[in-house]
């Protein structure tokens, strides 16, 4: 057995209530590591050429909660959530911070697969080797804060009753969904704590479809044995020391972005990306710091950076709103993208989004889309069930967010996410509204624009990514560029927080992997063979898609139309993405990554990687 792993996975079928253990060979673990990489492997092995028939919101889909060998060791605890995505219909590796991964490994499992669909709402309760499917009817319908409060209390009492000799029981770790997930909203998250969310992919809807409200785990064992503990300790210290050097990064986290990404790099969504520039000093990090942050350093297991902040609105109209930070993505998506430029209104929006179990990015994207249609008179007040969706009106946006989470009225359409909502509204209105949908292959684009070319993504980054609009996994050349998804896949598969790799030589991360697992790995080997294999699997499943949608790379490997419009203001006024350059870069990228001119992975590339069955399945697309 390879060090760093607990050695077994848990599979729970909620239709048959069968619970079993699953193990992988060392070879599989060496190739796919864990988290995102292993998710791609598991899903392909399970569904393969049947991929197109699997409904992401049907009982057949697998919900995967996977750690990696580095989880718990590399500072900053995370877990990777995956499955067939109800957004892209491919596979997205979506990670979320917290202690869940650590508790799970301490309980003796590297991951959990959930298949089937329960008859009535349930939650999973895991205490070391004991696995129980428990009734969740009393928590079904509860918002995020209530869910966490009730489950924490209930599960601690359960532990106390069963193990009275132990002394005080610490709370177990919880992954859960809010009302949005329960109602199979495609922009629903799998959440941890408050405001910690695996957003990309829409896996909250997958949990909801399985009637799985939460997974709760308490592990009392140690983290698994490592190959070289002295080296692990030394490397932990190096990662921490590196983090401690960036004091402002620790102190502000991504929360300085709400002002800076707009004002400095002109790449922040403003009013559904009609602009990417603003100079609203009311949205400065100093304002967040002074007005709403009550805890300036907040973090998850082992994290030296603690880039999260706790925000509370103490007075005024939005009094009582609680969230983290908001981080940059939410400052942008439920702030500037909706025309909101004050910390209090932004915290309020983020807290509404959290409570409903929605994804701030995807929901902010679809809310902005709806507001632009309202601005243009395409959607009327009547279409919006009486809501006047004016830019900057947080209360109006909150009303609509609730409609989305409960699929009420127009919310039922918007709950499908921006792409599907655009198709539907287009049909209803007899008008092409896709030009206002800022998404790539079903996934709203992260809050980092490409028109100014001053932010980190390239002009082809979203168009070619196997995770589509996901700003944490972008296509980039050369493939071993530190921003590239080929590198990011390692972080998502070892399952670590890549914020704690900032400023570190990449080799140190592979040294860490070796110290934990005992396996030698170079960046070159990773990028050219292992990451490449995972990319091809993700690409294949993305292109196979189905059952409700299929992407044609000749059409859909593209930027949202908006990015081809000139920036209307700011220092980069007039700058737009040139289509000819995107085409040229795309051609280069396809070549590098082994896809033919139509974007389909080449036969010889797949065969060289040992993915013969993938090659066969893609035959019909060629």
């Amino acid at each position: 057995m390879i060090c760093g792993y607990a050695g077994k996975f848990l599979e729970v079928n909620l239709s048959t209530m069968e619970i079993k253990e699953v193990r992988f060979s060392d070879e599989v673990l060496k190739d796919y590591v864990g988290g995102r990489g292993l998710a791609a492997k598991i899903l392909w092995d399970r569904f393969g050429s049947r991929w197109e028939t699997v409904d992401p919101l049907g009982s057949e889909n697998l919900l995967l909660l996977l750690t990696g060998p580095l989880t718990g060791f590399f500072p900053g605890g995370r877990i990777c959530v995956s499955g067939k995505s109800p957004q892209s219909n491919g596979v997205i590796g979506s990670t979320v911070g917290g202690e869940f991964g650590v508790e799970l490994k301490c309980a003796g499992y590297d991951g959990i697969f959930v298949s089937g669909e329960a008859e009535k709402p349930v939650y999973l309760f895991i205490k070391d080797g004991d696995v129980e499917v428990r009734d969740a009817s009393h928590i079904w319908g509860l918002d995020a804060k209530q869910t966490v409060a009730v489950l924490t209390r209930e599960c601690r009492e359960l532990l106390k009753k069963r193990f009275p000799q132990k002394g005080e029981w610490r709370e177990p770790a919880i992954l859960y969904i809010g009302p949005a997930g329960e109602n199979k909203v495609r922009t629903a998250v799998v959440a941890a704590k408050w405001s910690h969310a695996a957003g990309y992919g829409g896996y909250g809807a997958v949990m909801g479809a399985k009637k799985l409200k939460a997974v709760v785990v308490k592990g009392t064992g140690p983290l698994p044995e490592v190959a070289d503990m002295e080296a692990v300790k030394r490397l932990i210290q190096e990662v921490c020391n590196n983090a401690y050097e960036s004091e402002l990064w620790r102190r502000w986290g991504t929360g300085s972005g709400g002002y800076e990404v707009g004002a400095k790099s002109s790449s922040e969504p403003v009013r559904n990306w009609q602009d990417e520039w603003h100079d609203e000093k009311s949205f400065g990090v100093d304002q967040f710091e002074n007005r709403v942050w009550v805890k300036q350093y907040w973090g998850d297991f082992g994290c030296p950076t603690t880039c999260l902040k706790l925000a509370v609105v103490r007075a005024g109209r939005f009094k009582g709103a609680i969230t983290d930070n908001p981080d940059y993505e939410l400052q942008a998506y439920v702030g500037t993208n909706l025309g909101i430029f004050t910390p209090e209104a932004n915290v309020y929006m983020a807290s509404v989004i959290d409570d409903l179990g929605l994804c701030g990015i995807q929901t902010g994207n679809v809310l902005g889309f709806a507001a632009e249609l309202y601005q243009r008179g395409i959607l009327t007040k009547e279409d919006l069930d009486g809501v006047e969706l004016k830019w900057g009106d947080a209360e109006a946006f909150a009303v609509l967010a609730k409609k989305i989470a409960y699929r009420e009225g127009v919310g039922d359409i918007l709950a499908e996410g921006t792409y599907r909502a655009a198709l539907k509204i287009g049909r209803l209105k007899g008008l092409d509204v896709m030009p206002y949908a800022v998404q790539v292959k079903g996934v709203g684009v992260g809050a980092h624009g490409i028109r100014s070319e001053k932010d980190y993504p390239e002009i082809y980054s979203y168009a070619c990514s196997v995770q589509c609009g996901d700003h944490t996994s972008i296509a980039c050349m050369p493939l071993d560029d530190s921003r590239s998804e080929h590198i990011r896949i390692f972080d998502d598969s070892g399952v670590i927080c890549f914020f704690n790799t900032f400023g570190l030589p990449r080799a140190l991360v592979f040294d860490f992997y070796k110290a934990v697992t005992g396996i030698e790995l170079t960046k070159e080997e990773w990028v050219n063979t292992k990451a490449m294999k995972i990319i091809q699997l993700q690409r294949a499943m993305l292109l196979l898609g189905g059952p409700d949608l299929r992407w044609n790379p000749e059409i859909h490997d593209d930027n949202p139309p908006r990015f081809y419009e000139p920036l209307p203001s700011g220092p980069f006024k007039g700058k737009a993405v040139e289509r000819a350059r995107v085409d040229e870069e795309k051609r280069k990228y396809y070549e590098l990554v082994g896809w033919d001119e139509r974007g389909i992975p080449k036969s010889e590339v797949l065969r060289r990687l040992g993915l013969d069955d993938v090659d066969k399945a893609l035959e019909k697309l060629r």
């Binding site: 966490v148 409060a149 998850d300």
Partner: protein, 177 residues
């Protein structure tokens, strides 16, 4: 105890509102005592009865050490050098009497062995404090042990969480539990 020895004894001052929830203290404590990363075997445990109000829960070295009194096998003693409660693992029968006697329910059972875990102040060089200060959170700090009311800090996780919730979240705080 002579005056000189008394001055050497230490206490770990704690400011819960500064705790980031990073749990680096648990990692340090378990690595030092168990040679593994083992949160449940750490003598300092970070409780999160509601997100955002994480705090470290560990022995306060009460002035009158009720746990030591309560132990039927005399497995607990007080370190002359540091003032810490020391557990004799061979004598401890895991009866839990010390947990009952502790106003904060601080001692807890080792997850796999039949013995109680109580902070031993790492023999005078607390590992948890090192990492907490290194990260500039400063929720933990070593101070010389004086005649203060340390026992006030021996409170149950619920009690601490409730008061801390009010400090951090305001009047609504308690409802979050």
């Amino acid at each position: 105890m002579s005056e000189a020895e008394k001055r050497e004894a230490i206490w770990i001052a704690r400011d819960y509102s500064k705790c980031s929830g990073c749990r680096r203290c648990e990692i340090a404590c378990s690595l030092f005592h168990e040679k593994r990363i083992w949160p449940e075997a750490s003598r300092i445990r970070v409780f999160m009865l509601a997100p955002g109000i994480e705090f470290p829960h560990f022995c306060a070295q009460c002035e009158d050490y009720p746990c030591v009194e309560a132990c039927p096998t005399k497995a607990l003693s007080i370190s002359k050098e540091t003032g810490a409660v020391l557990v004799d693992a061979n004598t401890c029968i895991g009866c839990g009497k010390c947990i009952e006697a502790c106003p904060g329910n601080v001692p807890h059972m080792h997850p796999t062995e039949n013995r109680i875990l109580i902070c031993d102040l790492c023999g005078g060089d607390p590992q948890c404090v090192k990492v907490c200060r290194e990260g500039l959170w400063n929720a933990l700090q070593v101070v010389p042990r004086r005649a203060d009311s340390y026992k006030l800090y021996a409170r149950t996780p619920e009690e601490i969480a409730r008061s801390l919730a009010v400090k951090i979240f305001g009047e609504e705080g308690e409802h979050l539990l």
